[in-house]
Amino acid sequence: MNAALLIIFGTILAAAVIGITAGRRVKMDLENWTVGGRRFGAVLIWLLMAGEAYTTFTFLGASGWAYAKGAPTYYILIYGTLAYTVSFFILPPLWRIGKRLGLQTQPDFFAATYGSRGLGIFVAAVGVICILPYLQLQLAGLGFIVEIASGGAISARTAIVLAFLVTCAFVYASGIRGSARVSILKDVMMIAAVGIAGFGIPAAHFGGIGKMIRTLLARSPGHLTFPGAVPSMDVLWVMSTVLVTGLGFYMWPHLFGSTFSARSEKVIKRNAIVMPLYQLPIVLVVMVGFTAFLVLPGLKNPDTSFLALVRATYPSWFLGFVGAAGAVTAMVPASILVLFASTLLAKNVYQAGFRPGASEESVMRLSRTMVVVIAAAALVLALYFPNALVNLLLIGYDGVSQFFPGVALGLFWTRVTKTGVACGLGTGIVVAAFLVFGKYDPFLGMNAGFVALAMNAAVTVAVSLATKSHIRVQLRIRPESRPAVQR
């Protein structure tokens, strides 16, 4: 067995051990499994949030876009930064309400804020539907990375099935603690891989990033400013895309739910402050994509540009290391996606919709069963319906972004009503689906999800003003007006 294979298998094994033992000393009830007993301090929250934010897309998508599309890939640097800025303001009040009312998931929030079980069930269903392609994307990306990194010795299918088993095992055993712990391994490996390749590859081929850029400018001057190589992705597209993805980021059910694992709101605020720095290494991935554009023209699949260049530049064991890093980079977000999709189905669809009297133990048991069901569904999708990486993500984003008005207005505006949010959400989803599936994206130069979000917000506000607000829980955002009761 060669060094690359050893590194890949060793890493997956290490992830399994770390993940499965992470929850050993904790009594696993739903509160511990889903939100870590609300005890995560600054370090674990950072690991968790960074673990979720950096996906296989970082490796493959950012370099693939830099290669094929050019400047539009910059949007990836921007939207994360905007998302953390939004999170600085939105997550602390959200955490406070979660603590007070014992919320664990996003549908919990909608159901409690708007006093509507139906709205909660609807939000849960939309969330699961958006999570599935995102999860499939992680699995497909993983298979693809490992196959290339192992030089074809491990087939994509084998890698996907193996990683799926490991991920299921640690989610089942440890819940969110497993994901946070495995994230340590993932972050160290990923930063090392990106740092070495990002500086090393342009240096090896051109003698540095600056020289590489100058060569690129001489050869293809339009590649580095908007719209790059894709005329429909001009400045307006970038602006609307970063707005919808930046606002939509924490609307992903798993990112939203992770907020509740924090020990205090201060932990969340501090995390929001430092997280943008973690976006900066992505520019190194972009540089690798640009180098590939010059060195390896005509790649059939642009998403392979990062790995192809690593293979052309470094010994095979380093390619194995990058592959292993890519594998855990897919497994951590996949685990959290599976975890939240399962809880959404068990708690917010089954219990809320069909068995309001179900005990917490039975919901917990069902959640664990759902882990296997959801992961199997994503596995089938990844094995039999593989698709282009980034496009899927954008469609999922369009969907979850539509939660934003309901969340933001629910936290900050006392006039918003259940009917308003339901109408807005419905409008947003219908418009997004119509534009994306009808091939009207970009629409008038703007991202379809943004158009949908704008209409959603307008409908939410208009209908809220026209209807009466009644059983809504009165939410206070200032700490001093918080009632002094224990949960």
Partner: protein, 76 residues
């Protein structure tokens, strides 16, 4: 929005800065020249504001804390 504290309002103004610089300023910085640190200007601009956003948010944190009574840390 009436129950927003003064600190929160000022913090929100600071929070608008990354949006101004990273979204609404884009049409005006979409150029290659001048190269800064070897990077096209638009890319340099984006990286600059990504790196400055933590500073802006830290200021927002301070402003909020100054005007709003500090919330108690969760007892362990």
């Amino acid at each position: 929005m009436n129950d927003l504290g003064k600190g929160t309002k000022r913090a929100l103004l600071l929070g608008a800065v990354p949006f101004l610089m990273l979204v609404f300023a884009l049409p005006f910085v979409n150029c290659v020249e001048p190269l800064v640190l070897g990077l096209p200007f638009v890319l340099f601009w984006i990286l600059l504001w990504v790196a400055l956003t933590p500073v802006v948010l830290f200021l927002a944190f301070k402003v909020e804390k100054k005007y709003n009574p500090p919330e108690d840390e969760e007892p362990r």
